[in-house]
Each structure stands twice: as C-alpha cells, then as structure tokens.
C-alpha cells in the first residue's frame, strides 16, 4: 500500500533529482523511510549493521526527487537526501542547513 498519491500533472513539472545518503550504523531498522517514501526509492536490505539491524538501501535511485521526507521522518538521523549535482556531504562540506548562530 502506498501512502502518497502521484500528482496528475507530473509530466509537466520539471522534477528535481535527489541523491539519498544513509549512515547504516545509525539505523535501527524501523522501516519508516521505506514505507513512507513517496517515490518508492528505498527497500530494506538483508545485511546486519553493527547493532544487528537491517538498514535500508536504495532500490530505485533515479526516483528520488529530494523531497526530504526520509530525513524528517527518520528517528535516528541516519538518512537524508541532497539535490543531485550539489556537493556531496563529505567532511562537513555539504550545503549548510542549520543556523550557524
């Protein structure tokens, strides 16, 4: 069962592309991101992480539209997406999101 409808004018919109990042060892395998991803990008993997859970893995990378829901709904701060083409998050170089204050 899918929980989000597909917009009927999908073909007219320029769909942004996103890339999903997962920190596997933070994951506790709750499955929220897999279930609620509106674009069905993710699935649960077979592998165990260091805590013995099955983290998600990207099934359909091209489907990601960088909506950010996975980031918001992940209770473990283990997954997020960036726009394709953006500098990818390594060593804190990703586009700052937080208030630096």
């Amino acid at each position: 069962m899918k929980y989000w409808r597909t917009p009927y004018d999908l073909d007219k919109i320029e769909v942004p592309k996103g890339k999903v990042h997962i920190i596997k060892d933070r994951c506790k395998g709750c499955g929220f991101c897999v279930e609620f991803c509106p674009r069905d990008v993710l699935e649960m993997s077979e592998e165990f992480n260091s805590k013995g859970y099955h983290p998600p893995r990207v099934k359909n990378p091209e489907n990601c539209v960088n909506c950010g829901l996975c980031e918001m709904i992940c209770p473990e701060f283990a997954i997020w997406s960036t726009a394709k083409g953006e500098k990818e998050g390594k060593g804190g170089q990703q586009v700052p999101r937080g208030n630096k204050g």
Binding site: H21, D25, R26, C30, S50, M72, P75, E76, F77, N99
Partner: protein
C-alpha cells in the same frame, strides 16, 4: 564502544550541527517517534531564525526527557516533572532566552501537572513540546494519565480504568495561548507548528503523538512502530480550530490533530513589569 567508532564516519548529516552527534545513536528504541519530534524541532529552530545561543531546552525525566541531551544548544536534563518550573527560573533569570520545554506526557502532565497548569495560568513565556506516547516507557510500560481507557499497561494489567487527559483541553482551560497537536507522521506540519509557536509570546503547547513500539504497542498487540505510524495515517484527522473539549483520544480511535488555540494574553513578565512600574509610580 565499537558502534560509536563506526558512527564517526566522514559523512555528515544535515542536522549534525544542531545535534550532539557524539551521543548518537540515541537511546530510543527502533520505531520510536521521539527522534522524529527532535528532527522536527531542529528543523523548526532552523526555520524560525532564532539565535541558537539564546535558546535553552529543558527536559524532565523519561524517554522524551533525554531530548535535552541530544540537542546542541544550552540544555538541561532536570528532575522528574519539574522541567517547567526549572524553565520558569531560566526565563525570569534572563528574559532574553527563548525557553523550550521538551518532555513526555508522564513527566509534564502526571507528576508535572501542577507546574503545567500554573505556568499556563501565568502565561509564562515558553514553548512546551509534549511527546505523548500513552505510556511510561522509560520505567517499563506503566499506565500513564494519557493511557486510553481499557488499554493495557504493566500497572494496569487488566486494562486501564482511568479516563485519559485531553492535553489540549487542559492546556486551553488553564490559559495557554497556543495549542496544537500532531502525530509523529505529520512531520512537516509539526515543524510549521513549532515555528509558529517559537515565535509566539506566551505559554505554547504542542502535543506530539508518538508511537511507543517497545511497550505501548507490544502490550496492546498493536504491532511495531511502523504499524502505529500507519494507524496514524489512516486515523488522524486534521481539524484546525476544533473546540479543545472534543479532542479526547480513545483506544485506537480517531485522533484529531491540528492547531486549536492561537490567542493573545499578556505574558507573566509583561504583567510583572507593568505591576512593578505601577508600584514605583505609586499608582496601584
């Protein structure tokens, strides 16, 4: 510990600068919604454009009470039920600080019920985020004042016999100026609500209904966290402005969410300062 080492990877999560990543993974169970509430709060802090140095977060005891330990701002993990009282001191000690109380239903409404209603009555300027998972989870699944009638818990092994509190109603009737309720599934709306409430002056309450996959759903055989989230999806109904007295939550019944109260009242400090200046002028 090995796990911690593994986590210190080079990749950085966008919220890393708002959270104490040296303490992640956090203690919450798989399928728990508190982490989502924290995400929403962090996103709201970001969106509300508040100087993070001037925000303090106070938590009590319980699962949600641990939130203070994970957010990278001035944070206080205090005693059971007294987060609001402690926060009152901070607010009055330095009125420039935006004070956020982030705690659970048992902490805020059960043992801390008195401070909750009195702070609302005074209209003490703070944002209270109450994560409601219908049970005491940290101590192992005891009945809470929010546990729905007939639901099971370890100290109500034959079903809960006490009607639960309707948190928005009690907040409203004791004088809160902003009252909203969302489930952990409504992350975006929750974030927006938190932004509004952060910018509000006075006692604001945001209730977050969250799955407890370890105790509440297990004892009541409701499946895991994901099943609870699906339940919210099917049974939450958004009704902004609904009269707060109609917001009771039964066992696996419909949950009404939305923003219910948004009004203006002079805050405690405003009244206090006015009174002080009147006293000085000699015109009581």
């Amino acid at each position: 510990m090995t796990v911690l080492k593994a986590v210190k990877s080079r990749v950085k999560h966008p919220m890393d600068n708002l959270l104490r990543m040296d303490r992640i993974p956090h203690i919450w169970c798989p399928g728990c919604g508190i982490g989502i509430a924290v995400s929403a709060f962090a996103a709201a802090l970001d969106k509300a454009k508040i100087d993070l140095d001037k925000v303090a977060i106070v938590s009590g005891i319980g699962c949600t009470g641990r939130v203070a330990g994970y957010v990278k701002i001035d944070s206080f993990h205090t005693t059971h039920g007294r987060a609001i009282a402690f926060a009152t001191g901070i607010k009055l000690g330095n009125p420039e600080i935006k004070v956020v109380v982030f705690s659970g239903d048992g902490d805020l409404i059960s043992i801390g019920g008195n401070h909750f209603i009195h702070a609302a009555r005074r209209n003490m300027d703070m944002l209270v985020i109450c994560v409601n998972n219908f049970i005491y989870a940290m101590t192992g699944g005891q009945v809470a004042p929010t546990t729905p009638l007939k639901a099971y818990a370890t100290t109500s092994p034959f079903g809960c016999v006490e009607p639960p509190f309707n948190i928005p109603y009690i907040a409203d009737s004791s004088g809160a100026v902003y009252v909203a309720r969302w489930t952990a599934l409504h992350v975006r709306r929750l974030t927006n609500s938190l932004v509004e409430a952060l910018n509000k002056r006075g006692f604001s309450v945001v209730e977050v209904i969250s799955p407890c996959a370890m105790y509440y759903s297990r004892i009541n055989r409701l499946g895991d966290g994901l099943d609870m989230m699906k339940f919210y999806h099917d049974n939450a109904e958004i009704k902004h402005g609904e009269d707060t007295k109609n917001l009771d939550i039964g066992f696996q019944t419909k949950i009404i969410v939305g923003k219910f109260v948004d009004r203006e009242r002079p805050s405690y400090l405003e009244s206090y300062n006015r009174w002080l200046s009147e006293m000085k002028d000699g015109t009581p």
